[in-house]
């Protein structure tokens, strides 16, 4: 008999979710779906508030990547004032974003995913967590915890607190980097470099044995999207959008983030309320794209820092053109930690970070402002519209996790089909399915606190798959 198995809740992720696995009459997997079960409604209750409050409100969407919302919100505010912020303020915002990449990626790898990778899929569920890791791999766990702590420390040194700092504002930032904080971070760098190098070596060593797994953990062709510098170098805060395909070829490049609606549209399937963003010129099938660490490493021409560039070469050998398995989000995440540390080391030598010129001031000079930044899990857009007094008339937040929704669904279905047969479901099988979600390190608080508003394409298919009706909205 056809049936449905629900994994509730999905654990070791940020946010609240369930997974349904649908079985056919023979007990084989016919499909799987990923459900996000929290909803807040920021795009409604922020209306009528001053846009300057958004740097305080939107980081509360999430405790894991609040800095992403803080920075995207501040950038949207810069655009409403139509100012270029002082160079030192831009450098300081970048430094905070790098700190966040380190802390969030370390959390994803060590606290959430390493229990599967190091203790094994079949380890007893009661041990399969960061505390189990602390018991079995004490030094590695401690090093991972301290690596995350370093990233949090970068944020705290700049913003005064680790989570929800009120620091970046429209026009710039409120405080420079002090000497004491700079020296503390510099003294800590050798330890965190050693941690990430050792972890990369350990992880690389496990890859040959994981080749079979990587082929069923969400391995499929798709486009990849993220920000890159004008010369194609890896970006995390400035730059413009680039799309590449599964063969590694550039599909679109240097698109201004404010024009995102020209390249991103969403399709809705009549059988589901899940909306799936896609690269508009290619349509909903061929236009599916992924964002986040895997995408950023696939789209960039180089990391721009020596050690991470060396590692990028090894990473690229895992694919032909692009690395297409979602399992390799983990490896990409570790490489991004290394790159972030190299960039942090470079930034800490820059005397500009102590500058007193940190904030531009202006009135309302543009009725719409878009701010984009690379959150740890992918490209984040804040798109605000205001009236003449700066009160919000429209709020749209396009978050990374939403953009990966289609890929996450395809990943859990691929894993479920591979491991679940004959209707026999075991706990370790379910854990593998959940791990498919962990690969993406989704931030579910973000994904439904904010629902995007993009050009939309609806296709109604009949039972033979023929298109019955199409509708567009720009």
């Amino acid at each position: 008999m056809a049936s449905r198995i629900v994994i509730d809740p999905v654990t070791r992720i940020e946010g609240h979710a369930k997974i349904s696995v649908f079985l056919d009459d023979h007990g084989n997997v016919s499909d799987a779906a990923f459900h996000v079960v929290e909803f807040r409604g920021f795009e409604k209750f922020c209306l009528g508030r001053p846009y300057t409050e958004m740097t305080g409100i939107t980081p509360r969407i999430c405790g894991i990547c609040p800095v992403s919302h803080l920075l995207a919100s501040a950038k949207a505010g810069d655009a409403i004032m139509a100012v270029s912020i002082p160079p030192a303020a831009d450098k300081l915002r970048r430094l905070m974003n790098l700190g966040q990449i380190v802390q969030s990626h370390a959390l994803s790898f060590f606290h959430l995913s390493a229990p599967d990778l190091l203790l094994g899929w079949d380890a007893p569920p009661a041990d399969r967590n960061v505390f189990g890791l602390m018991a079995s791999h004490r030094e590695l766990a401690r090093a991972g915890i301290r690596l995350r702590q370093f990233g949090q420390e970068v944020i705290e040194v700049l913003g005064g607190k680790r989570i929800h700092p009120a620091w970046a504002v429209p026009g710039g930032v409120r405080a420079p980097l002090g000497n004491e904080g700079r020296e503390r971070l510099q003294a800590w760098l050798p330890e965190v470099f050693a941690t990430v190098r050792a972890t990369l070596a350990l992880y690389r060593g496990t890859l040959p044995a994981r080749e079979g797994e990587s082929r069923v953990f969400g391995d499929f062709p798709s486009l990849f999207m993220g920000l890159v510098a004008p010369d194609g170098t890896w970006e995390h805060h400035g730059g413009r959008l680039r799309f590449t395909d599964a063969g590694g070829r550039i599909v679109a490049d240097q698109i201004e983030p404010r024009d995102y609606r020209d390249v991103i549209a969403e399709c809705a399937h009549p059988s589901s309320y899940l909306k799936s963003p896609y690269y508009r010129p290619l349509g909903p099938e061929a236009g599916m794209y992924r964002v986040g660490p895997l995408a950023r490493l696939n789209i960039c021409s180089r990391m721009g820092v020596p050690e991470a560039d060396e590692e990028l070469r090894r990473f690229r050998a895992l694919g032909r053109g692009a690395v297409t398995s979602s399992f390799h989000y983990h490896y990409a995440r570790l490489i991004e930690i290394l790159a972030a540390l190299e960039y942090i080391e470079r930034a800490l030598r820059d005397p500009d970070l102590g500058s007193a010129e940190l904030r531009a001031d202006a009135g309302i000079n543009s009725r719409r402002g878009v701010g984009a930044s690379e959150a740890p899990r992918g490209t984040l857009f804040h798109d605000y519209s205001v009236d003449a007094n700066g009160l919000l008339t429209g709020v749209n937040l396009i978050v990374a996790t939403g953009q990966n929704n289609l890929a996450m669904n395809r990943t859990v279905a691929q894993i479920a089909r591979h491991f679940v047969t004959g209707g026999r479901i075991t706990e370790p099988m379910l854990n593998r399915i959940e791990h498919g979600i962990r690969c993406f390190d989704p931030c579910l608080s973000c994904s439904t606190h904010a629902v995007g508003h993009m050009a939309l394409h609806v296709t109604l298919l009949d039972a033979d798959g023929k298109v019955r009706h199409e509708a567009w909205r720009d």
Partner: protein
Amino acid sequence: MSFLDLDEFLFEVAEAVELVCSPLADGKEYPSGVDLCLIEGAVCNEDNLELARRIRARTRLVVSFGDCAVTGNVPALRNVLGAGNAADVLQCAYVEHAAPGGAVPPPDGIVPALLPRVLPLHAVIPVDHYLPGCPPSASRIKAFLAPLLAGGAPRLEGEQLKFG
């Protein structure tokens, strides 16, 4: 996530407690006879409400952890929209900001219905302790947990009792 900012103090926590249910661990069922539960977040939907009640029935000490649990905080901003706010925010996200033919996810037993108003935790279950902050800093969490782990009662005062 602020809990993880305890950093290496986590090793001491790990020695002193047995973690039975957490977003960080894989136990899916909340067991009976639990000594202490830290509950974060406002009560926004039917699932939250049901879980809060289940936890209360099975737990000796319940802590309202963070400003959202203590006051409702940012999630409760939708209450300001008045009666019908739950329908309004869903309408905004899934219909006005969505497709032609967009619709609010239907009740299907998977996606929980929103409550008419977002509530602080103590409005739905009795709470033994409050730990404010958005989020409570690691030092505040530590100051709160250390006496509990030693068998005493937590006592926060002054600087440690601020919101935000």
